[in-house]
């Protein structure tokens, strides 16, 4: 698109709701109160695995202020989740410490809490299984007896080419095992919702979901199951204090709020404490990965084989589909002709897992990019040269049938090497080292659901002020601003004249959800096409008014004008009023439902998942204290092929945020579960990096101007954290010669590895 004359796209425009957030005016779920509202509270399990023998709620019911007490046996029989294996309140059995056993609604949070403590539950503790490998063994305790196995019936398997032959023909082969840990999203805003029924049993859910349309569907299904047929559900989203994938599903607490509201006939709010946010929301699953890769004598990749085991926890969310996204880097990060991948999701008595920023990609890329360095070493090549040799290029069709359109992977790798001063700094082994890792991610939507669409409705008033109703949610990432920029750019008006409404299913069109880094691309295109429609209509009408050929008309700074005749122009507002205030007048509106031309995977898990793909590379220079094992990041460079930066400032925010999240993943964060019990569910012992731990991150924005993206843009929501851990791990290897294969890379692990290697003595000698 005419890049040389853009006035808003490419500009650093502060996030539209920033003043509200900074001044405390933004209304989070925490701030919302409805008349007559009650407070719900949940009683969780006392054991990771056990039979519920008896629940006595009498004492709780008698407490003044308590309006309802629910247990698994007093609610309708429903199961929620991706495999429909999760009752909102458990009956008969608990399978994890997070299991919801009973709930109350009361006039205050304090009374609700007191009531919860008055519920007596009698359990018979059962032996648990907390490791997916153990859970697959014969005779392991079964989490869901009726399924007869702890392995989920999700046969993740991708086969491209002939791996066995490629193995036999490879000049160099490396093989290793990598592990990743449980981590959690750490949203600043804790989870919460308010369920409210009107007199006709239509439901309004105040929620901070990142999938309003799918959540609406889930709630309607639940109401049907409760016997409330044909009811309306409205989802109203408050300002959301972070999502990162945690709100990509509906959860027991939401159904509990609905059931309590139904029972009490009053609005019921459930708001998580920070402790609950740690132990009762679904974290990123831990993985165990076997990987082998080979290359020929010239260093060209010949094959990649990976086997993965994922801890699913006790129930199943959308997170169980992360292996489908892992297939993307496995098949298509670098040119690799032969690929074999299998993954098993396994039930355990741990908390059940869910998607988190990157959706499996960080776990897979940690193994792939660590292994890439190992293979480069085996082949006697510089890891940078090795990556450049195998890098993806435009026009490629990958073994999984991804059609690579725009691709700036080589530019990213080169830029990182240059900024890090790679040639000079690599290979010194003196306690300082450099490392890099690349990434591929979906950048043009991802058809993981039946539709990958997003709708937009635009209306414009008599003065050229625009309301944009988009299905897409702002979870803090900045879609409210990016969509406004796109619409304002198309319509030639100022950003202040664009109001984005994105939080109410009663007025906003359908959208599949904020995931897969798809919002700028899909919601952006949807808004772009809707704006173009309304613009075309304006120009057509004005061309008659001005007596000018429509081909020469445009709008800029709120004025419709002729590009060839300066005399012919009209303020946009005046034009709009003329259109409105006439016999048979018109107020202009336009809509667009944009669904990208990407493909669902076929039965072999092949197909063009996304219309375009985002690339990037991160490079790190570290200093390792050989005596303590502590790692200091000296330099951090993040290069991303983003197609086009619509708002470089917000885009950098995504890269910084992703980088910091990746840093935590690499070096510190870990949910410590011991026999199913979370031992560090607080910010003191869960080591999310503080501001003081974050090194300066240098961003490099590579613009490849994607042919299908809005103004050429591709997604950037997730990529920032995908290559962080392997880049750091590779740098540590370069610095001190030890490779840590299980995250997080703690000082203890480094020191232990150094001691095992005897590296200390060598260094001193």
């Amino acid at each position: 698109m005419n890049g040389d004359v853009l006035s808003l796209v490419g500009k650093n425009i502060p996030k539209k709701d920033a003043p509200l957030k900074v001044t405390g005016q933004a209304q989070y779920i925490q701030d919302i109160k409805l008349p007559g509202m009650l407070w719900g509270k949940i009683l969780y399990s006392r054991y990771p695995h056990g039979r519920i023998l008896n629940i006595d709620t009498k004492r709780a019911e008698r407490l003044p202020g308590v309006k309802a007490v629910l247990t698994g046996s007093t609610i309708p029989d429903i199961k929620i989740g991706f495999m429909k294996d999760n009752p909102p309140l458990k009956k008969g059995k608990v399978c994890s410490m997070r299991d919801e056993v009973a709930a109350v609604a009361a006039t205050s949070p304090e009374v609700a809490q007191e009531a919860i403590e008055l519920i007596d539950v009698e359990y018979e503790e059962l032996p648990g299984v907390f490791d997916p490998v153990e859970a697959m063994k014969e005779g392991a305790p079964l989490i869901h007896e009726e399924l007869k196995s702890n392995v989920l019936k999700l046969p993740w398997k991708l086969i491209c080419g002939d791996v066995d032959r490629a193995k036999a023909e490879s000049a160099y082969i490396v093989e290793d095992t990598y592990k990743t840990q449980w981590v959690t999203h750490c949203c600043l805003g804790t989870s919460g919702c308010i369920a409210s029924f009107d007199v006709n049993n239509n439901l309004t859910m105040y929620s901070n979901t990142q999938i309003p349309s799918l959540a609406q569907r889930d709630y309607i299904d639940a109401l049907n199951a409760f016997g409330l047929k044909n009811k309306r559900v409205r989802v109203v989203q408050s300002v959301i204090g972070g999502g990162f994938g945690s709100k990509l599903d509906t959860y027991p607490y939401e159904y509990i709020a609905i059931l309590l509201a139904l029972k009490t006939r009053r609005p019921v709010k459930i708001l998580f404490t920070r402790e609950e946010e740690f132990f009762a929301t679904s974290p990123r699953q831990c993985t165990l990965t076997k990987i082998s890769q080979g290359c020929d004598r010239e260093g060209r990749l010949t094959f990649r084989e990976m086997e993965m085991i994922l801890d699913n926890g006790a129930y199943t969310s959308w997170g169980a589909t992360t292996p489908s996204v892992m297939m993307m880097p496995i098949s298509s990060l670098y040119k690799v002709p032969n690929v074999r991948y299998t993954a098993k999701c396994v039930y355990t008595n741990n908390n059940y897992s869910q998607a988190m920023r990157g959706y499996g990609n960080p776990q897979a890329t940690f193994a792939i990019e660590s292994s890439m360095d190992q293979l480069a070493e085996a082949a006697g090549m510089d890891p940078y040269e090795f990556r450049m040799k195998n890098a993806n290029e435009p026009g490629e069709v990958t073994p999984q049938r991804f059609k690579i359109t725009s691709c700036g992977m080589k530019e990213c790798i080169e830029a990182v090497a240059e900024k890090l001063n790679w040639k000079e700094k690599r290979g010194r082994h003196n306690g300082r080292g450099v490392g890099m890792a690349s990434l591929i991610h979906v950048g043009g939507g991802a058809r993981v659901y039946k539709s990958d669409g997003c709708g937009t409705i635009i209306k414009i008033d008599d003065y050229g002020k625009v309301d944009v109703f988009t299905g897409s949610t702002d979870i803090g990432q900045g879609s409210d601003t990016v969509i406004a920029q796109i619409v304002a750019e198309v319509l030639g008006i100022s950003i202040e004249d664009v109001n984005v409404i994105n939080n109410d299913t009663d007025v906003c069109p359908w959208d599949v959800g904020v995931h897969a880094s798809r919002t700028t691309f899909v919601a952006g295109n949807s808004a772009l096409y809707a704006a173009e429609k309304i613009k075309a209509e304006i120009l057509t009408i004005v061309s008659h008014m001005l007596g000018e050929d429509v081909a020469f008309l445009d709008i800029k700074n709120g004025v419709v004008y002729s590009k060839r005749d300066k005399e012919k122009s009209m303020p946009l507002g005046k034009a709009l009023r003329s259109i409105h205030y006439a016999t048979g007048g018109k107020m202009l509106m336009a809509e667009c439902f944009y669904d990208p031309a990407n493909e669902n995977f076929d039965r072999e898990f092949k197909g063009n998942l996304s219309v375009s793909y985002a690339y990037g590379a991160h490079g790190v220079e570290v200093e390792v204290d050989r005596k303590t094992g502590k790692v200091k990041i000296l330099n951090y460079v993040a290069a991303h092929d983003v197609g086009r930066a619509i708002n470089p400032m917000l885009l950098e925010g995504q890269i910084f945020g992703g980088g910091v999240m990746g840093l935590g993943y690499a070096l510190g964060e870990e949910m410590v579960y011991i026999n199913g019990v979370l031992k560090n569910g607080n910010f003191l012992d869960y080591k999310i990096p503080t501001a003081k731990d974050v090194p300066p991150i240098e961003t490099i924005i590579v613009e490849t101007v994607d042919k299908d993206g809005p103004f050429g843009a591709k997604g950037i929501g997730e990529p920032g954290l995908v290559p962080t851990a392997p880049a750091i791990s590779n740098a540590i290897y370069d610095a001190v010669g030890v490779r840590i294969k299980d995250l997080p890379i703690t000082p203890e692990k480094i020191l232990k590895a150094l001691k095992e290697k005897g590296a200390e003595k060598l260094d001193e000698a």
Partner: protein
């Protein structure tokens, strides 16, 4: 959180009267430990007696030695030039304690009376030979800080007593001190291990020997401890690399750390070996050697 009554006495006498007469009463200073314990239901208290409005408990005085009132906040300690210059280990201990918000309200008296094995001011005060002035309804008494701690969250304080403050001696010219807080994060963290050192050298010239040494260790025992054997080893020796390394090894033998989610015992022992030497080195640098 359990409901409690909040009292605001303005004198020590008044505070001691309240704590003796009220049921199930405890003092609260900055509240950064006790409120957390209350919320987590690890403490059940009916009456909280605030020490915040008692002027007698505040302030830093420097003359024949150093006096720090127990109600002095960590931020106030951090601002003290005298402490930075002459009692540097304490400055080290305070500067990375909690966060700025915590340091603004938390007091040194609270940090010591809470008696956590990880208390950031404990090791520095131990090597700086701090004495504790305790006030009770029947009068005052002095206790060496080393005799003050009994175990995790346990001290010699009677439940009707409070700490008025800490007295630190003047040290000779060739003295330096330091504290190393070994953490996973750069802020908002508890130490995996804390090591403090104070060294007084014979004179400032090359080849000087150590006249007096103090080494203290946190998170290696149920309470912050002095490494007496290490201290004895150091006295009379020139502080060479070899001597410092051996000091680390001796200190590691004096340490009895446990495994916890915050750090493994073997790692803590290894770090004692490394950090004792580094703490001594830092202390030496501060005396200008």
């Amino acid at each position: 959180m359990r409901r409690f009554e909040y009292h605001k006495p303005e004198t020590i006498k008044e505070a001691l009267g309240l704590v003796t007469s009220l049921n199930n009463a405890r003092f609260i200073a900055g509240g950064t430990d006790i409120l957390v314990a209350l919320r987590q239901k690890k403490a059940e208290i009916d009456n909280l007696i605030s020490l915040r409005n008692i002027g007698e408990l505040k302030g830093i005085e420097y003359g024949d030695g150093l006096w720090i009132g127990s109600g002095t906040t960590h931020t106030e300690i951090l601002k003290s030039r005298v402490i930075l210059e002459h009692y540097t280990a304490l400055n080290d201990g305070v500067k990375n304690l909690g966060s700025r918000q915590i340091r603004n309200v938390a007091t040194i008296g609270g940090n010591i009376c809470n008696a956590a094995p990880s208390a950031d001011t404990a090791c520095p005060l131990l090597v700086l030979d701090a004495k504790v002035l305790i006030a009770g309804i029947n009068g005052e008494r002095w206790v060496d800080l080393d005799g003050f701690f009994l175990g995790p969250n346990k001290t010699v304080l009677d439940k009707h007593e409070l700490v008025k403050g800490f007295s630190l001696p003047l040290f000779p010219k060739n003295t330096g001190s330091s504290y190393i807080k070994h953490t996973r994060r750069a802020a908002m963290d508890l130490p995996i291990l804390g090591i403090a050192a104070r060294i007084t050298m014979d004179d400032g010239k090359e080849g000087a020997t150590c006249r007096e040494a103090r080494i203290a260790m946190g998170v290696v025992a149920p309470r912050p401890i002095r490494a007496y054997e290490t201290e004895r080893f150091l006295v009379g020796k020139p502080l060479t690399e070899d001597v410092m390394e051996e000091a680390g090894n001796i200190a590691a033998r004096e340490a009895t750390p446990r495994d916890s989610i915050r750090g493994q015992a073997w790692y803590r022992k290894e770090m004692v070996k490394v950090l004792v030497g580094r703490a001594i080195k830092n202390a030496m640098e501060r005396m200008g050697l």
